[in-house]
């Protein structure tokens, strides 16, 4: 949560310092740093990062469920912090690194949180899962020894109608343990 706030503050500062003139309504050319690769694309200024990922970039692993920052299904990492990609315009991303669910594994090796989600059945329908995994993976990356309350706090903004929360907590704690060796 704190990291998200930091990211948003940094974003606000960037915007204030920018001298760019008004853009739009027609599409503008931008380049996004997605999962370690530079991805040039044209977007209308009104397009959110979530729509840019799912549409022109073809990364449909990121899900849209409420489209107003209330369910966190669209969570991706901006630099190292989880954010709701439906609440950010693609043109505001700038040079920051975006990591999506497709970019979390290292080749065929799943992130420990992904592996633990499978082992502990921390998913059912799977629609909230990409966002949930991104938040839990961010927690494990930032906090090597979380407790159950830390996990719950890190996913407090996520909605899962299947009720996977208990297994998500178990899985994330197990993944953190694996990460610590």
């Amino acid at each position: 949560m704190i990291n998200t706030t930091t990211a948003l503050l940094a974003q606000a500062e960037t915007l204030e310092n920018s001298t760019a003139s008004t853009v739009g309504p027609e599409a503008v050319a931008i380049t996004l740093q997605i999962n370690g690769a530079a991805r040039p694309l044209r977007v209308e200024p009104r397009m959110t990062l979530a729509d840019a990922l799912r549409g022109p970039l073809g990364l449909t692993g990121t899900k849209i469920a409420c489209n107003r920052g209330a369910c966190s299904a669209c969570t991706v990492w901006l630099d190292d912090s989880p954010i709701c990609s439906c609440m950010m315009l693609a043109i505001d991303v700038g040079a920051r690194r975006v990591t999506t669910i497709e970019g979390l594994a290292q080749g065929d090796t799943l992130h420990p949180v992904q592996q633990a989600f499978i082992e502990h059945d921390a998913l059912q329908c799977g629609f909230c899962t990409p966002g949930m995994v991104m938040s839990c993976a961010a927690l494990v990356e930032h906090m090597p020894e979380p407790n159950a309350d830390d996990v719950r706090a890190s996913i407090a903004g996520h909605v899962c109608r299947c009720g996977t929360y208990p297994h998500v907590v178990t899985a994330t704690l197990a993944a953190a343990k694996v990460g610590r060796g």
Partner: protein, 782 residues
């Protein structure tokens, strides 16, 4: 493959009873086409084990495709224009400007002013017109170009007001209103319409007048439940692709087979020209059981535009026009002898599913407890709100909130412990075990008199029970294929709603072949494959795992014949185990599964099996659907802490003891039980569709003002799954989704009463409701 004559039977001995409690045997006559009796889980290698989901990796990497993730070449984007008025007549509809928009490819007026019946909009969000355009933005722009002239009509959005004779009528005539009464099964026909009230649907046995006369104690109480919305994370969506040679739709549906039928009928197509596909679906909970109005519009748009059309609802549309759990009012009257024996139950209910029907309170009061005299009268009340539909144990979930609190109240009146009362009046031997196990786990002996906790935070314990039908879909089939390289495919149009249907199929088939579940290729969710059951009514596992096992067993017989030639042994002396085909009495003699497959005469052998009747027959059969003889049970205990200064209820612990026949994947079942409990907890404490009575508008059509329990409201949950063998089918497995949802809210309500000594008879039990019940703030006007 040679098929036996239909009347050829053999005797099989099945495990019978609850493992760990009293596991016996039962003899059944089964067709010689059926596989041998499946031993208890303890003697199996794959079934009964918590193997990981077969699609787990695809789900945690984002690779799996939901409907909204499908993009087809030349695909258009569909949007729906919706009525801003709760009740209005369409005077005129002008689509010409929208049709001229350069990005628009089709405009579909849904209603015509010339047809007064269809040209009446009865709730905010009712579809008026639909467009297909080259982008979402163009579609949105086109909607704003459609000119509609509405003539506003009087409306009513509160059930109590709608019941009054003077209330505005939602439907102008009995013919215009939906008929029947789907709360019962089958739906009652020809029920009268009186103002906005359809019904009563009457159910009766014995003589309640005599029963109440014999009673020592009569309890009478009223209960009220709110409207809950499904809130599937994945919105309803479809990609419709109409072509000259047939229609293909990708749709987030709980029933591919059913949607194919609907499309064929709606568009006059033969079944073999309609294909319905769902790769992954993001929850349904009852709301994705049918094609839906949006689905019809998308197909028609695709037909007119001659291009694929993707139409996905947004969250506001989800909340207003994608179904909901109807709100109810129920009055229960229960007569009992001093020892608890019930003499009579009468139930009067009114519920509202908005402009639709189906707002009954189910059959708990009628069937959960032994009582010779019963009378139920259930009514539907129309209001100007979006249509309700089935939602996780429709009827019984709101009904249990009434009945199971009434039982708690009755027990107190009789000065009998609520568990002891149920011991005397509940005939189910399964729930008896469930109560015993649950009471021990929760520490029921700690339960004290209501409200005795000193201090502002008071704790309490409560219990409630579940009753649900063991549904089976006869129209269910599965194909199993073995290739010459030893690979195996399992095919059915059954869809995985998120419960793990593909995984239980893999386990079922792998057990037969002595292979690992991860070696099975599961191909489901496509009507090109044999017809599968719906994922509703807690029936998918019960319907599709028996034919999967039967088909696999039949294929195995062919394979054993080939292996027998290689091993110089009779096929009936061989077994498939751990990737090999072995001589049963001399396991040193064997060949690998793959070697046996390599000997096949053709590249692929396969068998298709359909769902047989339960071996002892069914209790009831209705077309494609049937009821097993036994019901599904379940008992849940809740421990709560109520802060009497803030009114906040915290559920600290839930113990759920559930049964679903033979559990195939215990951890997946546990996941589903978690889901049922959390949906029930959320129903008990937080969720409510709020309609503004002055405008008819839902004021919380989103996921932030519509309150849902989240991770921080999740209690410690202890799930116990019984192995309850009945010898009913090739797998003896049944469903769990709905039974796990029914008892949660009343268990919490009973615990709240035990904590504070004041009864909450209305949902949700918000802090304001708690404080009002405690007399600390004025009652909220509902």
């Amino acid at each position: 493959m040679t098929m036996a004559k239909e009347d050829a039977l053999r005797t099989e001995v099945f495990p019978y009873g609850i493992a760990g409690v009293g596991l016996g045997k039962v003899e059944r006559q089964v067709s010689v086409d059926e596989p041998p009796a499946l031993p208890p889980n303890a003697d199996l290698n794959v079934i009964g084990k918590s193997v990981p989901r077969q699609d787990g990796r695809a789900k945690v990497t984002g690779a799996i495709r939901f409907t909204a993730d499908i993009s087809l070449p030349g695909m258009l984007y569909g949007r729906i224009l919706r009525s801003p008025m709760p009740h209005a007549q369409l005077r005129s509809l002008d689509i010409s400007a929208a049709a001229r928009h350069p990005g628009v490819r089709a405009v579909l007026p849904i209603d015509s002013p010339d047809d007064p019946q269809s040209a009446t909009f009865r709730y905010i969000g009712a579809p008026v017109a639909a467009v297909a355009a080259i982008s979402m933005a163009a579609a949105e722009e086109a909607l704003r170009l459609i000119q509609v002239d509405y003539h506003s009509l009087p409306f009513v959005v509160e059930m109590d007001r709608a019941r009054a004779q003077a209330a505005p009528h939602v439907y102008e005539s009995a013919e215009a209103a939906p008929g029947g009464h789907p709360s019962g099964w089958p739906a009652a026909a020809n029920l009268p319409l009186n103002g906005n009230v359809r019904g009563p649907a009457i159910s009766r046995r014995g003589n309640v007048t005599r029963g109440f006369a014999e009673a020592d104690v009569i309890l009478e109480a009223e209960y009220r439940t709110q409207v809950q919305t499904h809130c599937c994370l994945e919105p309803h969506g479809i990609v419709a692709d109409w072509r000259a040679d047939g229609l293909t739709v990708h749709i987030s549906t709980q029933y591919t087979t059913g949607v194919r039928h609907e499309l064929a009928e709606e568009f006059g197509l033969p079944l073999n020209r309609v294909r319905v596909i769902v790769d992954a679906m993001g929850g349904g909970f009852g709301s994705k059981s049918t094609l839906g109005n949006y689905g019809r519009f998308a197909v028609e748009l695709s037909r007119r535009a001659q291009a694929p059309v993707r139409l996905v609802l947004d969250r506001e549309e989800e909340q207003m026009d994608a179904g909901n759990r109807p709100g109810t009012w129920q009055r229960l009257r229960i007569g009992a002898k001093r020892d608890g024996a019930l003499t009579a139950i009468s139930l009067l209910s009114y519920g509202t599913a908005g402009v639709a029907l189906g707002a009954g309170v189910g059959f708990n009061a009628e069937a959960l407890y032994a009582c010779p005299n019963f009378e139920g009268a259930q009514h539907d009340v129309f209001i100007n709100a979006g249509p309700g539909c089935a939602m996780r144990a429709p009827g019984n979930t709101p009904g249990a909130f009434g009945l199971e609190q009434a039982m708690d109240e009755l027990a107190e009146r009789l000065a009998i412990d609520p568990l002891v009362l149920r011991e005397r009046i509940d005939p189910s031997p399964v729930r008896r075990e469930e109560r015993r196990i649950g009471a021990e786990r929760i520490g029921w002996q700690r339960r004290r008199a209501p409200g005795v906790d000193p201090g502002p935070v008071k704790r309490g314990l409560g219990v409630a029970q579940s009753l649900w039908m063991a549904n089976v879909q006869i129209n269910s089939a599965c194909e199993v294929r073995v290739m010459r390289d030893g690979t195996v495919e399992v095919l059915s149009s059954v869809q995985d709603i998120g419960t793990g249907t593909g995984t239980v199929l893999a386990q079922t088939v792998a057990e037969v072949f002595g292979l690992r579940p991860e070696d099975m290729t599961i191909r489901i969710g496509d009507t090109e494959f044999p017809p599968g059951p719906p994922s509703y009514g807690s029936r998918a596992t019960a319907s599709i795992t028996p034919p999967a096992r039967t088909a696999a067993w039949r294929v195995l017989q062919s394979l054993l014949r080939e292996a027998g030639l290689a091993l110089n042994a009779a096929a009936e002396d061989l077994v498939a185990r751990k990737g090999r085909i072995l001589v049963r009495d001399d396991p040193s003699r064997g060949i690998s599964f793959r070697e046996a497959a390599a000997r096949l005469r053709t590249d692929r052998i396969s068998a298709v099996a359909s769902r047989s009747d339960d071996y002892p027959g069914f209790r009831r059969r209705m077309g494609d659907a049937a009821l097993a003889h036994q019901d599904l049970g379940g008992v849940q205990f809740a421990e709560v802490a109520v802060d009497t200064e803030t009114g906040i209820v915290r559920v600290e612990r839930v113990v759920a003891v559930q049964d679903c026949g033979r559990p195939i994947n215990p951890r997946q079942i546990e996941s589903q039980v978690h889901g049922g409990i959390l949906m029930g907890l959320s129903y008990a404490l937080f969720e409510e569709r709020i309609l503004d009575q002055h405008t008819g508008r839902m004021v919380n059509p989103d996921l932030e003002h519509y309150k849902l329990a989240g991770p921080c409201e999740t209690p410690a949950i202890d799930v116990v799954i019984l192995e309850n063998y009945q010898g009913n089918s090739a797998t003896d497995a049944y469903g769990i989704a709905e039974p796990a949802n029914i008892p949660t809210a009343p268990a919490i309500a009973n615990a709240v009463y035990n904590a504070i000594g004041v009864r909450l008879r209305s949902l949700p039990m918000t802090p304001a409701a708690i404080l009002a019940a405690l007399g600390k703030i004025p009652e909220r006007r509902s």
